[in-house]
Every structure is written in structure tokens, then in C-alpha cells.
């Protein structure tokens, strides 16, 4: 199938883009990397009157060290993030997860902002953003606002973005002392949407878990934060608590069945992946040399040499 006709505008600045959207009366869609939107257009599942293409706005593409973390412009391609050594150093979870986004040809067009704003329930980057407590910047005709990732996602393909607003940046805190991060997912074919996936960030002190964040993808309409599992891990040793945390995930989720997997299989898989990811994150947390941990210093070093 071919896309239905639409009016096309390609603003050169963010201000122009905000203006174009405001003029569109809610009838426009934003075109970022197009790797999810264009299939919807090709199948005529979406018929927007107008497309506002952000690909001609250079100011939305950047990776910048800021405030002890990394700020990533919304139009930064997944492949750019994947190849940026600063991401591997400062946000290892994002570096690990982004390699699972689609295929190479998808990642060279797909963008970080588009991935988050599209809010596919089985996507990697929304879960990563929630797990890392990323701060998202939104620009619209009423000005600029920031939202924590956990408050950004409302449900299946739905976010707090108003029709006239643009997600412009995701800021991720840099990893900190004795933290281990891990992404695991399972898909039948590498690059397909995950049947289930999990992000784990653990802080470990003297072999005991000090804090934990566990967020799953593919098990509901939006990233699922496994709070009960997080609480179970804190203060205990991993051997003792990881199986209980995995059980807590299994009982807390209610995933949909589809052609790829039954509800029971997804539930089981989510538990298995959670337990494995907890172990990986723990081992990484314990293995870190304190000297290599001062992320603020290494980020400053990197920004001086950028």
C-alpha cells in the first residue's frame, strides 16, 4: 500500500516547527525517523492531514555532557547513540539496550525522541528512560516543560505530549558509584520487538543491595516499574532475594497474549529475564573499580575533549 496524501512541511528551526504544529489544529503528526509512522501511513492506519518533518532541524541532533549526565537531542539517530563512546561510559544501560532497537537500517534512521514519543509498549527506550529516571524536555506554544520519564508514558502508544508539543530532549543521569546496569530481552528474531524485556539498575554496598530499579517492557501498555520486586531486593543478598523478586514480577504483571506468545509464556519469560538481569547488574556493580566510577569527572573530561 501507499501512504494517503498529506500536506508536508519541513521547518528549519524548532520555533518554526512549534508554529507549524500550532497552526495545524491537532491534525498534524510529527515525522521524526519515520520507522514507526511511515509503516502506519503505508498501511493507511494513520491519515494525518499534515506531516511536520523535524529532519531539517539541526539543533535537535546532539549528545552533550551536562549536569553529571548526558543530554540527547530528540532527533539524534539511534545509530549515532550506539556509536558514541560517551554513551557507553555514562549510560551503559542505554548503550546496551539501543542495540536491540530494530535492525541496523532502522537504527540509522530511527531517533531517540521518536522512539520515546511513539511509546510502543514493547520498545526498549521507554523502559530504559523510566529505569534511569530520565528527564524529558517538551516544547510547545505554551513554552518549555520537563517531565520525568515515569510520568511521560500514559499507556499504549500514549504519552503526556499534547498534539501541539514536541519532545526535544532526553537527559539521562550518569551512572554513579557502585551501580550496575543491565538490559535483557528476548525476541524470536534479533531486532524484532521483544516478547519481554527488562532494565535493571542496582546500587550495591558491601554485597548488599542499597537501591534497585526494575522496569519491564512488553508486559503491558507502558513501561512497567516493578516496585515490589525493587523493595524485595533492598537490604538482602542477591542469591537470597533475586528469585523472590522474579516471583514478584510474575505476580504483578498481566501481559496480553498475541500471535507471538501466550500470556503465560510472557509472564514466565518476564520472571526469568528479571532474575538473570538482576544477577548481571549485581555482578557489574560489584566489579566496578572505584577509580573508574567518578562519572562527573569522566564526563567533564569527555566534554573538554569533545
Amino acid at each position: 500500500m501507499k501512504p494517503p496524501p498529506f500536506e508536508y512541511v519541513a521547518p528549519r528551526t524548532l520555533d518554526e516547527a512549534v508554529h507549524e504544529l500550532a497552526e495545524s489544529d491537532g491534525e498534524a503528526k510529527i515525522l521524526a525517523g519515520g520507522q514507526s509512522l511511515i509503516p502506519l501511513l503505508n498501511f493507511r492506519l494513520a491519515r494525518p492531514a499534515r506531516l511536520v518533518d523535524l529532519n531539517r532541524i539541526p539543533s535537535l541532533t546532539y549528545v552533550t555532557a551536562r549536569d553529571g549526565g548526558l543530554a540527547i537531542g530528540a532527533m539524534t539517530r539511534d545509530a549515532t547513540v550506539e556509536r558514541d563512546p560517551r554513551v557507553a561510559t555514562a549510560i551503559p544501560l542505554l548503550d546496551e539496550a539501543i542495540r536491540w532497537v530494530g535492525h541496523p537500517a532502522i537504527r540509522s534512521r530511527g531517533t531517540v525522541g521518536g522512539n520515546l514519543a511513539h511509546a510502543d509498549p514493547a520498545a526498549e527506550l521507554p523502559a530504559v528512560a523510566v529505569c534511569l529516571d530520565a528527564t524529558l524536555t517538551i516544547v510547545g506554544p505554551r513554552g518549555t516543560r520537563t517531565v520525568q520519564a515515569e510520568d511521560f508514558f500514559l499507556g499504549y502508544l500514549t504519552t503526556v505530549l499534547e498534539p501541539d508539543e514536541i519532545l526535544t530532549e532526553a537527559w539521562y543521569p550518569g551512572f554513579t558509584h557502585q551501580t550496575g546496569q543491565s538490559w535483557l530481552e528476548f525476541a524470536r528474531r534479533h531486532g524484532d520487538f521483544a516478547l519481554a524485556g527488562v532494565a535493571v539498575v542496582l546500587t550495591v554496598d558491601h554485597e548488599l543491595v542499597e537501591s534497585a530499579r526494575i522496569v519491564l517492557t512488553g508486559v503491558g501498555g507502558k513501561p512497567f516499574r516493578a516496585r515490589e520486586a525493587e523493595t524485595l531486593l533492598v537490604g538482602g543478598t542477591i542469591e537470597e532475594r533475586a528469585p523472590a523478586a522474579a516471583d514478584a514480577v510474575r505476580s504483578a504483571i498481566d501481559p496480553d497474549a498475541d500471535i507471538h506468545a501466550s500470556k503465560e509464556y510472557r509472564t514466565h519469560l518476564a520472571g526469568v529475564l528479571t532474575e538473570r538481569a538482576i544477577h548481571v547488574a549485581y555482578e557489574r556493580a560489584v566489579a566496578r573499580e572505584p577509580a573508574a566510577l567518578d562519572v562527573r569527572r569522566s564526563l567533564e573530561h569527555m566534554s573538554r575533549h569533545a
Binding site: 498529506f6 508536508y8 520507522q35 511511515i38 506531516l51 530494530g102 541496523p104 537500517a105 540509522s108
Partner: protein
């Protein structure tokens, strides 16, 4: 008449100027407007990889990009790989030698993807080869010989693709 946009694009080293409807997909622009039918169109929703081309040296599904977005870009299709119509590009040659194609439908996408892989990783592992090709579906050759062809290409070209 819908609005038409003037697009100037360099495809395989040659400049083309055309007025296009914004909804025209890059793959259809290449095939119907420019007559470059080596780029195949399979699924039209970014799953099969048959329409993969290089846009400014980066892999792209030409069914997931509008022709209007290629304005000012350099596009490489399978027709642009070999030096002339009588030659094969080294990656095309190994696909021939290793029986890396049968019906040929997926082949142009496989070739472009392989070229991009070897430019980035001149000596990929089998895992990296399979990950790189995971977005390209083949329904008749079978993947064994395609992976063999890519391995052979890496040995022969040493990254000079």
C-alpha cells in the same frame, strides 16, 4: 493537484531533479521516476529489507523514507555498487561464488547491507554478520550461504568495499 516538491538528489553519482508528491516513497521514486528497479519492494513496512539503500552512506529502508526527504542527499542503490555494467562489485562476486543468492529478490538489500557492515566492521564475527543481516529476509536461498558469502567478502576485501 497536490503540492509537489522539487527534489535534487544524487543517486549513484548522478544528479537528478524531479518534482514529487510528498507522499512518494523513496523506493517508488527510485524505481518509477528514475527507472532504477534494482531496489526491490517487498513488504512496504520496514520488515523485509529488500528495499535497503544507502542514504549519505547510512543504511536506510527506502520504503520508510519519503523521496522529498532525500533532497540534497547522496543515495546509493545496488546499481551503484559495480564500477560498470560489465563488472561485479567484490561483494556481488562473493554472493555469486558462495551461492549467496537464488531467486535474487532479497539480494540487492543483502548486498547493500553487507557493504555497510564491512565498511564499519571489516572483519565481522559470525554473530555480527547475523545481527547485521537480521533485518533482511530471504525466503529461498537460505541464510547459510548468505552468511558464508559475507564471511568470504570480509576475507577478500579487508574492509575496502
Amino acid at each position: 493537484m497536490p503540492d509537489r516538491w522539487l527534489v535534487t538528489v544524487i543517486v549513484n553519482g548522478r544528479e537528478y531533479k524531479r518534482a514529487v508528491e510528498p507522499r512518494l516513497l523513496l523506493c517508488d521514486f527510485l524505481r518509477h521516476e528514475l527507472g532504477l528497479t534494482g531496489t526491490h519492494v517487498g513488504c512496504e513496512h520496514g520488515v523485509c529489507g529488500a528495499c535497503t539503500v544507502l542514504v549519505d552512506d547510512q543504511l536506510a529502508r527506502s520504503c520508510l523514507m519519503f523521496a522529498v526527504q532525500s533532497d540534497g542527499c547522496q543515495v546509493t542503490t545496488v546499481e551503484g555498487l559495480a564500477a560498470s555494467a560489465d563488472d561485479l562489485h567484490p561483494v556481488q562476486q562473493v554472493f555469486w561464488d558462495a551461492h549467496g543468492l537464488q531467486c535474487g529478490f532479497c539480494t540487492s538489500g543483502m548486498l547493500i547491507t553487507t557493504v555497510a557492515l564491512l565498511r564499519e566492521k571489516p572483519s565481522p564475527t559470525d554473530t555480527e554478520i547475523r545481527a547485521a543481516l537480521s533485518g533482511n529476509l530471504c525466503r529461498c536461498t537460505g541464510y547459510q550461504n548468505i552468511v558464508k558469502a559475507v564471511r568470504l567478502a570480509a576475507e577478500r576485501t579487508n574492509g575496502r568495499v
